[in-house]
């Protein structure tokens, strides 16, 4: 067991073979030497790290219900403020929230919005595996167009999810917080840099991190880093940050790979590579290009 990496989250947790979530948690929590308190939304991370009577967490950890991780963090922040005022503690611990895309895009969105708007001092990290993977891969607000999921299955009359994914970064940005960024677990150095910046921010900060799911994106257990890299190399998942409203694109991909490169390595898009679904791939490519040009324009303006 690596002593340095397991200071905050130990081994012995039960995430699937080849899951990227622990790397996200270790990288984010490893970006600070200050004490941290972790709040967690229900999801893969929560069920796998806290199997009674064992907990893999070596830092204070709170799990309440699915939708209120951000509200829990707000409570921890408020409690620390009160304890500071009464002189019971001298220094506040950093509050870090981990939530999946289900607990962030969908179920926890109003709690997140409230906590951001009230300006609590915390970092919210959303590990985005693009679906409710812990319960068998149902569609979420983060699932991309055309993906085959349990509740949007591909078949004779359907090509999978027929809606586009939410633009969560813009939803969070609409709260005018000081720092938010989109990152990818396959680029740990980028994630580390962003986590450091986010943890230094006073007030709310937000990280959206792509987390390729071996089980329900359907690729071999050894491939999460490779699939994550393809997501960024095809511009499906550009890496960028927004500081005080100023956009910075961290990796400008000069010759992006076609989106097929990213889609073909995943079983959830297998059905798109048939004659009748050819158009869906064209639509996905167009949407990727459109989203990127929007982002580039925003970066140029700011």
């Amino acid at each position: 067991m690596n002593k340095e990496l397991t200071k905050k989250l130990s081994s012995g947790h039960a995430t699937c073979q080849g899951c990227g979530i622990p790397a996200i948690v270790r990288t984010v929590l490893g970006a600070t030497d200050e004490p941290v308190i972790v709040a967690n939304a229900t999801g893969c991370l929560e069920v796998t790290t806290t199997i009674y009577p064992y907990t893999a967490w070596k830092v204070p950890y709170v799990h309440s219900v699915f939708g209120n991780a951000a509200a829990t963090a707000a409570g921890i922040d408020a409690a620390q403020k009160a304890l500071m005022k009464s002189g019971k503690i001298k220094k506040k611990a950093k509050v870090v929230v981990f939530g999946g895309d289900g607990g962030t895009y969908d179920i926890g969105l109003q709690a997140l919005s409230g906590a951001l708007e009230r300006g609590h001092d915390f970092l919210y990290v959303c590990y985005d595996n693009e679906g409710y993977m812990n319960t068998g891969g149902q569609r979420s607000g983060g699932t991309p167009y055309g993906a085959n999921t349990e509740t949007a299955p591909a078949g004779e009359t359907s090509f999978g999810k027929s809606q586009q994914r939410k633009d969560l970064m813009e939803i969070v940005n609409a709260h005018h917080i000081k720092y938010l960024a989109q990152s990818n677990v396959a680029y740990v150095n980028d994630l580390k840099m962003k986590a450091k910046k986010a943890l230094k921010t006073t007030g709310p900060s937000f990280l959206l991190v792509l987390q390729p799911c071996t089980q329900l994106w359907k690729f071999p257990t050894s491939e999460y880093v490779a699939v994550g890299k393809l997501a960024t190399e095809t511009n499906f998942w550009p890496l960028y940050e927004i500081e005080d409203g100023k956009y910075t694109i961290n990796n400008i991909v000069k010759t992006p790979k076609p989106i097929e490169e990213f889609l073909k390595v995943q079983g959830r898009f297998k059905h798109l590579f048939t004659d009748k679904n050819k158009q869906v791939i064209v639509d996905i490519q167009n949407k990727v290009d459109e989203n990127l040009s929007k982002l580039v324009k925003r970066a140029e303006k700011s």
Partner: protein, 88 residues
């Protein structure tokens, strides 16, 4: 077992499942090929890889803890010099 007062559960590694039992193949590090770049260390989901300096070596080399390694193969995939091979 009974829950502690206040419902606090403390970390105790002796109670953890030995996830090494899950592995159907195990990574083998070729210590001669390993360049000690630590790429595998940060991507290992189970934090099983530690850099260890052996007597003869100048650099630290990857060393794997099979008690917790689930055998996913991520380390072998990310290794830039293919020093890790998955073996049954």
């Amino acid at each position: 077992m009974s829950l502690e007062k206040g419902g606090i559960i403390k970390h105790d590694i002796s109670k953890s499942p030995k996830t090494g039992d899950w592995a159907y193949s195990k990574p083998q590090v070729d210590k001669d090929k390993c360049i000690g770049c630590e790429t595998c260390v940060q991507y290992c989901p189970d934090a099983c890889i530690e850099m260890v300096k052996h007597k003869k070596d100048i650099k630290k080399k990857a060393d794997i803890d099979y008690d917790f390694c689930k055998g996913c193969g991520v380390c072998a995939q990310v290794c830039p010099v293919k020093a890790i091979v998955m073996k049954k």
